[in-house]
Amino acid sequence: MRKMSQLKKIFNKGDLAVTAECGPPKGADPEAIFKKAELLRGKADAINVTDNQTAIVRMSSLAACGLLISAGLEPVLQVVVRDRNRIALQSDILGASAMGIKNVLCLSGDHQSFGNQPQAMGVFDLDSIQLIQVVKTMRDEGTIWGGGPLTKSPELFIGAVANPFADPLEFRPVRLAKKIRAGADFIQTQCVYNLDKFEEWMNMARERGLTEQVNILAGVTPLKSSNMAKYMKKRVSGIDIPDELIKRMEETPKNRQRDEGINICLETIQRLKEIQGIRGFHIMAIEWEEAVGEIVERAGLLPRPSFDQD
């Protein structure tokens, strides 16, 4: 009998889960993954591996997940629909399950014009919601899309993203409902800084009964500097950083800004813990994986549970 997804086990128990993120290198060196793996070992229940994020060519998420498995960690395979058609996507899903990957996160992906291959064709044969449906069909009905039988179904815990801060705000809970109906088991949100707005979104989700139907992990990202905060506010869509936080970072001396960023992150986690329906945290400390360890420790989230073989 295969081991169940660690995330799924924790949710079944009713505990808070922790996931972190790992970006593959812009090169063929597996050491880059192993180094990050060591920084994250024991700090999170599962580790997301991004899929050519920002449309920049990196080692494939599938391969990097395989490397994490060989290092004894549990990955979450991120799959964007920008680069592959439904044949390739389903093929990768089968391969992922065969390799022992137990979690998959289905995303649209940033538009190809953002990255370093802007002349590439953006595929988008399926959208993220259709992909969730396809994976669920493969897992629960044992067929590919369209009904052809599989010799063995993939076993995957299905995730999707939610952005409580993107336009149009009132529609976001509808989209969340669609993802759940399509088959999402867990949701990771975009990183939270504006807690009032996030609570509003959670309220809308709760009113629709969605918080009972899916496991929501709130995203958090520690700010490294006031410049990073200003950059994110200005340039990255779907990120809402209140002015008071920016001011707070600006008023901190430069050599202490990283510490302050972690403090803000911890305060955010504390408030998030009190929101009904939050089932855990997704810590995205991009190119700052060392911070994850400090954050989970100070947030009282260590040690991460380990389960016996089932």
């Binding site: 538009h111 988008f124 959208d127 259709q130 869509s237 779907g238």
Partner: protein, 222 residues
């Protein structure tokens, strides 16, 4: 209509360089509407190329003629009377027109003066915008008359993605998020609940076809 834009003049000069007697052939339909290849534009291009030839010290002949539609065989056939006078045709038709002419007058080299771009509308004077990708299975009713395949940069059928900013697409702050528009439009009709259903994956085979797509209507044949 089909929209197009004139190729850079240097490129056109390069392509016509081997020829001495050229017919600049315009089209009175789509490319006239988008001011790229109609009678006026054909006259302007011909005049410009004649002046350019003088600057190059070349002695060439460029005549102008515009047909109603360059993509209809019956409208092109009459050119048979004059085609022998020329050693090349510079077509200001869209890609369909260029190829239709090439098909009929296969012995004459044909040079495209335009780059064909998209199916679109004249949204305002001097402003043309793409609004159809010719998917072969129109779903405009479901989306309040706004095509997500064309106007959403990721052609999502269950949009929006999380990337829009102030109602504009993540790809270009000038471009409205198609899903924002769809949601607003359907709200006007009180039909927003239409978007609660999960739209199934598109049958792209109706767009891709098995090679170039075609339509055959026997009731329209001779």
């Amino acid at each position: 209509m089909i929209t197009a834009e004139q190729k850079p003049i240097d490129k056109i000069r390069e392509m016509i360089a081997p020829y001495k007697r050229i017919l600049a052939l315009g089209c009175g339909s789509c490319v006239a509407e988008c001011a790229a290849g109609g009678e006026k534009e054909t006259a302007m291009l011909a005049s410009t190329l004649r002046m350019a030839a003088k600057l190059d010290g070349r002695d060439i002949l460029i005549h102008e003629k515009t047909v109603d539609r360059q993509c209809v065989k019956d409208f092109i056939l009459p050119l048979d009377d004059i085609i022998d006078q020329y050693d090349a045709v510079l077509s200001l038709g869209c890609g369909a027109g260029v190829q239709a002419v090439a098909e009929i007058f296969s012995a004459v080299p044909i040079i495209p003066a335009l780059n064909t771009e998209f199916i679109g509308e004249t949204r305002d004077q001097g402003y043309w915008v793409e609004n159809c990708v010719g998917c072969g299975d129109c779903v405009l009713y479901d989306f309040g008359g706004i095509c997500p395949l064309t106007r959403c940069a990721k052609h999502l059928l269950n949009g929006p993605c999380g990337g829009s900013r102030d109602g504009k697409c993540e790809v270009d702050p000038e471009v409205p998020c198609a899903w924002q528009l769809i949601i607003e439009r359907l709200s006007k009709f009180n039909a927003l609940d239409r978007l609660e259903k999960i739209y199934q994956p598109k049958d792209w085979s109706m767009k891709q076809g098995l090679g170039p797509r075609n339509i055959i209507r026997e009731d329209q044949q001779r």
